[in-house]
């Protein structure tokens, strides 16, 4: 199993310094924008904009490729499968028996693939530039209940721990003669139970001691808790927010008020 990737990379760019709430909003607005835009070229512009941001966030090539690894395969499949299932449109490019490949269908497939590309990569603007702590802090500030935020922080904290735990239990069971890479999916999954049961029991023990630790640190003693570090919107954050809203609103105005097809 490949090691867990912590998507966050330490760096000092304007995206790293930006208020995480603004970044969360940016991801949501840009995702919605991808649904509003329907032309291929405007979607490609959006995709280029997202990649520009990733580049400005100093995302290294290997990280960007990681973000793209899954998406590229997905996009290729959409482009291949779309025309096969969509026989509408007039200029027929090719036909094999009942299957007709038409030109508009091909373009629709490419457009949809571009949209999927936007939706898939826009996440990484947030994930590459925001530490887990900031992310949870921003969510709590945005109105997520503190205890839910804490549960989320705990789960993010323990993810790599459990990844390592699963690995060592796998090794231990292999040493006892368990074969995990043999047989079909059914057999393989059945063998996996021997890994999962110890993992779960061990994780539940962790949960027990964790709840003791929380209790001993007076978790939830007062409902009006205070924070050591607080998030504050700076003027540059306000500026980015303004630009963001403009980027989001202008295409919508152009599309629905001026009826420009974008």
């Amino acid at each position: 199993m490949p090691g867990f990737v912590d998507l966050y990379t330490e760096a000092d760019t304007f995206l790293h310094r930006m208020d995480p709430r603004v970044k969360i909003l940016a991801v949501i607005l840009l995702s919605l924008l991808a649904f509003v835009l329907s032309g291929l070229y405007s979607l490609l512009v959006l995709l280029a904009f997202i990649f520009l941001l990733l580049f400005l966030a100093r995302a290294t090539l290997s990280r960007t490729l990681f973000a793209l690894k899954f998406v590229l395969r997905f996009m290729v499949l959409i482009i291949i499968l779309w025309p096969i299932f969509d026989p509408s449109g007039t200029p027929v490019l090719a036909s094999f028996g009942p299957v007709k490949i038409t030109e508009p269908a091909v373009w629709r497939g490419v457009t949809s693939a571009a949209r999927v590309g936007c939706l898939a990569t826009v996440w990484y603007i947030l994930m590459f530039t925001t530490s887990q702590r900031d992310l949870v802090r921003a969510l709590v500030k945005m109105g997520v209940r503190f205890d839910f935020g804490l549960a989320l922080a705990i789960s993010l904290r323990f993810l790599p721990t459990f990844g390592a735990l699963i690995d060592s239990i796998k090794d231990a069971q292999r040493a006892r003669g368990l074969e995990l890479a043999k047989g079909g999916p059914l057999r393989r999954s059945r063998n996996y139970v021997a890994v999962l049961v110890p993992t779960i029991v061990s994780a539940l023990r962790t949960a027990d001691s964790l709840s003791l630790a929380l209790q001993s640190r007076a978790y939830g003693a007062r409902a009006d808790r205070t924070y050591l570090r607080d998030l504050r919107m700076r003027s540059s954050d306000g500026l980015v927010l303004g630009i963001l809203i403009a980027i989001f609103v202008l295409p919508i105005l152009a599309k629905y008020m001026l009826n420009i097809d974008i």
């Binding site: 793209l68 996440w123 922080a153 323990f158 993810l159 996996y192």
Partner: protein
Amino acid sequence: MSSDVNRSEPFGGVKPAGFVSPKTVALYGILTALTAAITYASYTPFSPTKGYFNLGDSMVFFSALTLGWRAGSVCGGIGSAAADILLGSGIYAPITLVAKGGEGFLSGVIGRTKNGTTWRIVAGICVGGSFMILTYFFGELIVLDVGLGKALAEVPINIGQVVLGGIIGALLSYYVRRSYPSLTAS
């Protein structure tokens, strides 16, 4: 049902002001991490054309059948969505949140009873699994707009995932309850 107040435990019995008990917070956080970690660790791409297979569903069913619909929906939904982001398929994360969350919710509501009879567990897994498959299908078709071909191609894989995940999740629920009885002692 995993209640907020757990009186039979030596710790975690005190409900703090306005928050859920520390035991619940710890348990949910851990189960969410575990769901994501198991999805991630058991990730096996299996065909050259597409798709992957994982045991994430078994964890969703396990949480739902052992601890109830609340744990099933929260840990299943958030854990699976987190695994999606970590695996590089972040585009699925919002759909996964709804699909797996609903799956955990339904299988917990239907499948978990006081002395869970087998057919109720099976019914819970079937209803939850169907919800998951339908959500992915319509989510891909309508929300992501990937075309009928891609959305249809996903269905058989999801069915296989639900069948295997259901069997393993029910097995896990049985084994873990036996080897860790205090889990459901409340």
